[in-house]
């Protein structure tokens, strides 16, 4: 136990040196760090948002809307399909998860089932087929129902969330936030972390807009104030409340879809000085746009965003170049945001912010200062106690404690774990817990000395007897922290991380390292009595 082969000593020292090297980048300025050679460690401790300032948003995708969308689409395509197959029906009713068709002639049920089956998309399966239809079609009496299958619902949800993440990423990239984190959480949530963002208002506004844009014709014969929309139309409000005309009757048929946009930029109209958004279509969109405008010169053409009419200008001449302009009494910021939204594309479903935690940068800086001060004071207090209680052996423990803190920082840097404010509390607490091992050992050595053992024998017995207790005692805390890490969220996870690192590393520093120091000292001085 007391003999250290040379390679072991070398290994212990190497670990300490390596840890120091890995920790140093945290104390360099950014400039120094970038000037370092590339082989040198550049990883720093990742500061949590509560320390560096920033905004943490948890978004929820409205899955109900995703399914509703698909059901509505199903109603439309069922209508067309049944008409093509000459199946008469009295009504098509949308339900929670599918549609019900009331047939005029129950004898046509088989034909209707076949027709509706054609509407199914195949999901799963590989290039050799083997997938299954996403619709379950059944007939009962004069009614045929088509329901989305369980797998189809799940598939839809997965698609919707993946698509949403992509769109969210694009929109946030447009705002110029540095190093955002965007990650899926659970079945229908997206976690967004925006370092350095103090007022997430704009981001929340951008993310809260679905940005589904459509170009649709206005029904000129109907009166929007009538309160009831004629079949095949919607009454939609204007996006500005101050306008004379606050509602429009808009045809349901989408002439051109915003998905066909390839670009959108904010600009100002040279004639009026008004802020506008210029847009460009892809080839399909350009062709459709040209066709519609050619056929409807003199009629208003509505630009609808999320079921609100931005504007409904009258078509003066066919627009064939695939370019256009939206004007709607925008401010510069409005125009910019709309351009961002159109460029990034529409969300498959509305997003809701269900949790926000924002910390200003100065509060974060205050927390770092308070944290560093606390750790410094805690370190001094613990060391003072250890030296007062155990003299030289206490000083050994203090040195080990210093190495422990350095190695914990190194581990955090290396693994890119996030240090949060509760994480600093964890560092602090592990200072106290780490010296527990040394207290156990030193008390044991004292006892053995009192029993009359020699110098070497006491140290040897002290270490070997205390070891199993140390492992036991630390394991109990480590188990708790593993549970906290799995079940905790956000900043509190950081507490579990730093304590676990601190404890695991203390098994090395408080025992192996301290033993090496004690043994070297014993061999060098050959004392007659131990200083405990």
């Amino acid at each position: 136990m007391l003999y250290f082969p040379r390679w072991k000593i070398f290994l212990i020292v190497a670990i300490c040196v390596l840890g120091t090297i890995l920790t140093l980048p945290n104390f360099f300025s950014r400039e120094t760090l970038s000037a370092l050679p590339s082989w040198y460690a550049h990883n720093r401790v990742n500061l949590g948002l509560d320390l560096r300032g920033g905004s943490h948003l948890l978004l929820e995708v409205d899955m109900g809307a995703v399914i509703r969308d698909r059901v509505e689409g199903l109603v439309d395509s069922a209508r067309t399909q049944l008409r093509n197959d000459n199946v008469g029906y009295t009504a098509i009713n949308p339900g929670d998860r599918g549609i019900t068709v009331q047939l005029r002639d129950p004898a046509q049920a088989d034909t209707a089932v076949r027709a509706l089956r054609q509407l199914a998309n195949t999901i799963g399966g590989g290039p050799l087929g083997g997938g299954q239809p996403d619709l379950e079609v059944n007939a009962s009496g004069g009614a045929v129902t088509a329901r989305l299958s369980e797998i189809a619902l799940r598939e839809r949800a997965t698609q919707a969330i993946e698509q949403s993440i992509e769109i969210v990423r694009r929109r946030i990239d447009e705002t110029g936030v540095n190093e955002p984190t965007i990650a899926r959480q659970g079945a229908d949530r997206i976690l967004v972390q925006l370092p350095g963002v103090e007022d997430p208002d704009r981001v929340k506004r951008l993310l809260g807009t679905t940005a589904k844009m459509t170009f649709r014709l206005v029904d000129m014969n109907a009166d929007p104030s009538a309160g009831r929309a004629p079949p095949g139309t919607d009454i939609l409000p204007s996006s500005e409340s101050g306008r004379a005309q606050t509602a429009y009757v808009i045809r349901k048929k989408v002439e051109v879809d915003g998905a066909n946009l390839t670009n959108a930029t904010a600009g100002s109209n040279p004639q009026t000085g008004e802020w506008v958004v210029n847009f460009e279509f892809d080839s399909i969109g350009a062709r459709r746009f040209a066709d519609v405008t050619r056929a409807n010169v003199g009629r208003p053409f509505a630009i609808v965003l999320d079921n609100k009419v931005i504007s409904a200008p009258v078509i003066r001449e066919p627009i064939t170049g695939g370019r256009g302009q939206i004007s709607g009494n925008f401010t510069a910021a409005d125009a910019n945001d709309l351009a961002v939204l159109l460029r990034a594309g529409a969300l498959p479903a509305p997003l809701k912010v269900i949790e926000e935690r924002t910390v200003g940068p100065d509060l974060g800086a205050d927390s770092i200062r308070a944290g560093l001060m606390s750790v410094g004071i805690g370190f001094v207090l613990v060391c003072a106690y250890m030296i007062a209680a155990y003299g030289l052996f206490g000083a050994f423990a203090c040195f080990a404690l210093l190495v422990n803190t350095v190695l914990t920082l190194a581990a955090l840097s290396l693994l890119q774990a996030t240090l949060t404010l509760p994480g600093i509390a964890g560092v602090l607490l592990s200072l106290g817990l780490a010296v527990d091992a040394n207290i156990l050992i030193n008390e044991r050595i004292r006892e053995e000395t009192k029993k009359g053992r020699g110098v070497f024998g006491s140290v040897e017995a002290g270490f070997s007897r205390a070891y199993s207790t140390i492992v036991d005692a630390n394991l109990t805390t480590a188990i708790k922290m593993a549970i906290l890490f799995v079940l905790g969220t956000g900043a509190i996870k950081g507490f579990a991380v730093t304590i676990t690192f601190g404890i695991l590393i203390s098994l090395f520093t408080a025992t192996v390292l301290v033993r090496l120091m004690m043994v070297s000292w014993l061999r060098k001085t050959r004392p007659a009595a131990l200083p405990v």
């Binding site: 269900i354 606390s374 207090l381 006892e447 109990t476 969220t489």
Partner: protein
């Protein structure tokens, strides 16, 4: 050579004399804590109840009366204001807003806008808005964490020690945890995720302490085969007393700065941990050990003759 000793080396306190008093006081405090848990109940923080917390710094010392009046006009339910740290720092707490999760956002934005308008120069340093679905899950996860932690300890000690030790440790742990909850109820401190972390830490610390004392008892059971259990337990406690108090001291010293400089989030955490350290230390001595004495009087001696022989002389290992 001066050495700081928390207790003199040859201390021999007969702790087991106080075993009845210890258990009765502890049981009473725990029952009181459980009662307090139900009535008046805990002051759940926004993690578990949902709602909004805004930390603002006003340019001059904050005028609470006018601030309360201004925010009261927003019709956002009860608005609690609290000075924090300096007279310029105000903590604004709003109840969870009726409606869905998005309603929290609307209310938080309203308060932000009002602060900017009515008190120009005010900086909003922190905003937290948590909706009902999120707070419900956080609460569930928090309780699950506590339950799992107890279970994990049970399994761990079960494997590691004889059942008498395991039973003693778990009962003590339950008594400890209830008292910490009672501490939250009495002080009215916010019970949130940090509180769960604090309870888990105290559980870890308390078990750790019990393991050390139990380890020594087990060792002594092997050495002093004929010593009465009561004497043996007292001896074990006295032998480990310097370690128990020493570790309590070092942990206490490391936590102390937190209670003074920890800021809104960590100050309470530090205070609860300090309470927990006292709790865990005393329960190792006055609860865990007596339980073992009651359970183990005739069972924990295996290969020893049953007649009560005189205490063994100082053994030579």
């Amino acid at each position: 050579m001066f050495r700081l000793r928390l207790v003199p080396d040859n201390t021999n306190i007969q702790f087991m004399r106080g075993r009845h008093a210890g258990l009765i006081v502890s049981a009473f405090l725990s029952i009181a804590s459980v009662v307090l848990f139900f009535y008046p109940g805990l002051n759940y923080g926004i993690d578990f109840r949902g709602g909004i917390v805004i930390e603002a710094r006003t340019p001059q010392a904050a005028d609470f009366a006018s601030l309360r009046h201004t925010l009261g006009q927003l019709n956002l339910g009860q608005v609690a204001l609290q000075e924090f740290g300096s007279p310029q720092d105000v903590l604004i707490r709003l109840e969870r807003q009726p409606g869905d999760d998005a309603a929290q956002q609307v209310a938080a934005d309203k308060v932000r806008a009002t602060l900017a308008q009515e008190l120009p120069g005010t900086t909003v340093r922190r905003v937290e808005a948590v909706g009902a679905s999120v707070s419900g899950e956080l609460f569930f996860n928090g309780m699950l964490a506590l339950g799992l932690a107890l279970l994990a300890m049970l399994v761990y000690i079960w494997f590691r020690f004889e059942w008498q030790f395991g039973f003693g440790a778990i009962v003590t742990l339950l008594l400890d945890v209830t008292k910490v909850v009672g501490f939250y109820a009495i002080t009215g401190m916010q019970f949130n995720l940090t509180a769960i972390a604090a309870i888990l830490t105290i559980m870890g610390y308390s078990t750790n302490d019990k393991v050390v004392v139990y380890d020594r008892m087990r060792e002594n059971l092997r050495i002093y085969k004929k010593m009465p259990l009561r004497e043996l337990i007292d001896r074990s406690i006295n032998e480990t007393l310097n370690r128990t108090l020493g570790t309590s001291m070092s942990t206490l010293l490391s936590i102390l700065p937190l209670a003074f400089f920890g800021g809104e989030a960590l100050q309470d955490f530090g205070i609860v941990l300090i309470f927990g350290i006292f709790l865990a230390t005393s329960s190792s001595i006055f609860i865990a050990a007596p339980i073992l004495l009651f359970l183990g009087e005739n069972r924990l001696r295996r290969n020893a003759p049953t007649e009560n022989a005189a205490p063994a002389a100082n053994p030579t290992p």
